[in-house]
């Protein structure tokens, strides 16, 4: 079986600086794959290239056998690969429900003029979007805050809102940008459960980029480790925990420590 998403020899150079060098890995359907690495390892750059928010210098990203890199973000989203952002990227002056209703616009059956003139199809869409927004928020345990304005939400809820907006587009692959960053232990545990239920119950393949080691270890089926823009390891959490090169990348080599 061919993997759902393939990252093939992806390289990104900014002038003389190589942010990603020849990174290759696959994401299988229905798995939770994490990309980790120390600061400056090129995780975010890779993330942006997969979601086409940034072009690759060379190499390509393939989704269901089709090249999706070096394209436009909205086209990738329409194909079913949707990214989330860190908490500040939200629709500030919309309520939670409005945001989720809006994010379903890809499923609209009526045209823009159709909406303008209020055709039957447009009314039908609006009702359907409202219903599924309520269902989704119920699923994510956010019903209580659905009429809150996004700018008034605390950090943990903002992250959940980001995921809700991403999920509302009905993605096949959800790319999460540091979903646990800046969270305390309890919040992280909740978020881990949330991400897992998204995969288990919605059947969404999840790829995430993250710093938080314990969370990554508990949530991931497989982990890809980047260091200085290159992939240095790939495997299950247990394999990664015992990988020499990974330990070295995170803690520095034994020689370095003596040198200090």
């Amino acid at each position: 079986m061919t993997p759902l998403l393939q990252v093939k020899n992806v390289t990104k150079k900014f002038g003389g600086l190589t942010a990603n060098n020849d990174v290759t890995f696959d994401v299988a359907e229905g798995e939770i794959l994490s990309v980790i690495g120390p600061n400056g390892a090129g995780k975010s750059t890779l993330f942006k290239m997969i979601s086409s928010f940034m072009p690759t210098t060379s190499g390509e990203v393939i989704y269901k056998g089709e090249k999706i890199s070096n394209n436009k973000p909205h086209i990738i989203a329409q194909k079913g690969v949707v990214r989330t952002f860190q908490e500040t990227t939200i629709f500030k002056s919309m309520t939670v429900r409005e945001s989720v209703v809006l994010a379903q616009h890809l499923r609209a059956t009526a045209t823009l003029p159709g909406y303008f003139f209020g055709t039957k199809a447009a009314h039908h869409d609006e009702e359907a979007f409202g219903r599924s927004a309520d269902e989704l928020l119920e699923f994510l345990g956010m019903s209580a805050i659905k009429n809150e304005q996004a700018s008034n939400l605390p950090q943990g809820n903002l992250r959940a809102l980001g995921i809700a907006i991403g999920l509302a587009t009905d993605p096949k692959v959800l790319l999460l940008d540091e979903p646990f960053a800046g969270m305390n232990h309890d919040e992280t545990t909740k978020m881990v459960e949330l991400v897992r239920s998204v995969r288990d119950e919605k059947g969404v393949t999840v790829m995430l980029v993250e710093h938080d080691m314990p969370a990554v270890m508990s949530i991931s089926d497989r982990i890809v480790v980047l260091n200085f823009g290159e992939k240095i390891a790939e495997g299950t959490p247990i394999e990664i925990q015992n990988n020499e090169r990974v330990i070295e990348a995170y803690l520095g080599s034994a020689d370095d420590e003596i040198g200090m």
């Binding site: 979601s51 989203a77 002056s93 009526a110 447009a122």
Partner: protein
């Protein structure tokens, strides 16, 4: 299609329509101030163009180039009527379409710019259209196009819908009614856009373009549509002004007019669909009223504007009590934010 309008809003609309179509003509007839017809007609026409500017603000772009599209529309209609003997009623929408097409051509490269960079480019546009009209033969260069015939009659199947303006006893009143009808149509369209899917997509872009594109909104496409609609309004406004004054010159709309269109929008309130109408009325009348101050006219006028913007950053309409959860009030806060953060 207007089923989300509350009964209170319907009452307000009815009162407004009564005021402009019945009360104002009665007032003018009673006081004999027929000069008000020209002023109010201009206010109505300029507010249509300002409404267009408002719509570009709605996608988070500062548009100081509406004069360019008004001038393009004015020339387009004047050329169609005088050189190709088009009916006014055909030339008017075509002038709007012409401006919209120009906007698409210009918008393709410049709409990717944000904040002050987009504003700077639009500031140049008015001058560009002016210079183009000076250089072209079809626009008669500096002499402009004069003696544009008044709107002809419009009849469908032999039934006269609109009489010939040239044969009217009081063409000023005819123009006033026409301008008001167009203004009502323009703002009903704006209201509907803002409250339908296009408006929601615009709001998502105004608040966060990256997030909007991540959920599949084709932001460059929507920007272009909105800029075209905005310029269509500018073209209609311009064509009507040309018809009203029966002439168009390269300086019929200048950079100052473009700035005024933007000020009208600011003053009325970015968060309110009907803000541009109020803003245009206040600015146009305010300037005229200050005529008594002679050489201090500009000084007093600009001081008042600065003070108004300091104490009412969300426009005059923000004085109205905000309804909780009202779309427009929230959009006002957001657009204020966007402008400050604009890169």
């Amino acid at each position: 299609m207007f089923n989300n309008v509350t009964s209170k809003q319907w009452m307000g609309l009815a009162a407004f329509l009564f005021a402009i179509f019945v009360a104002v003509p009665m007032f003018i007839a009673a006081t004999g101030r027929t000069d008000f017809y020209f002023t109010l007609t201009m206010v109505a026409l300029l507010s249509i163009a300002s409404g267009g500017v408002w719509l570009t603000f709605y996608i988070g772009r500062i548009n100081i180039g509406q004069g360019a599209f008004a001038l393009a529309g004015a020339y387009a209609s004047a050329v169609m009527i005088t050189k190709f003997s088009f009916s006014f009623w055909l030339a008017l929408p075509l002038a709007g379409v012409f401006s919209a097409l120009v906007a698409v051509l210009i918008g393709l490269p410049i709409l990717r710019l944000r904040g002050v960079y987009f504003a700077m480019i639009t500031l140049v546009l008015t001058e560009v259209v002016k210079l183009t009209s000076l250089a072209l033969d079809i626009t008669n260069g500096a002499r402009g196009i004069t003696n544009i015939p008044r709107p002809d009659g419009l009849s469908v199947f032999g039934l006269t819908i609109i009489p010939d303006f040239g044969a009217m006893e009081n063409p000023k009143l005819g123009f006033y009614y026409l301008a008001c009808v167009l203004m009502v149509l323009a703002f009903a369209t704006l209201y509907r856009i803002v409250n339908s899917r296009l408006g929601h997509l615009c709001r998502s872009m105004q608040q966060n373009e990256e997030l909007a594109s991540s959920i599949g909104v084709n932001i460059s496409h929507i920007r272009l549509i909105v800029f075209a609609i905005s310029s269509f309004f500018g073209g209609i406004g311009g064509a009507m002004v040309a018809s009203l004054t029966q002439s168009v010159y390269p300086n019929t709309f200048q950079v100052k007019d473009s700035v005024d269109f933007m000020l009208n929008v600011f003053l009325g309130g970015l968060g309110y669909v009907f803000g541009p109408m109020l803003g245009t009325l206040v600015i146009y009348f305010g300037w005229d009223l200050l005529f008594v101050a002679k050489e201090f006219q500009l000084l007093i006028y600009s001081t008042i504007l600065i003070i108004l913007m300091l104490i009412l950053p969300n426009g005059i309409l923000s004085l109205r009590l905000k309804k909780p959860g009202s779309d427009v009030a929230k959009a006002a806060d957001a657009s204020g934010l966007e402008l400050k953060e604009g890169k």
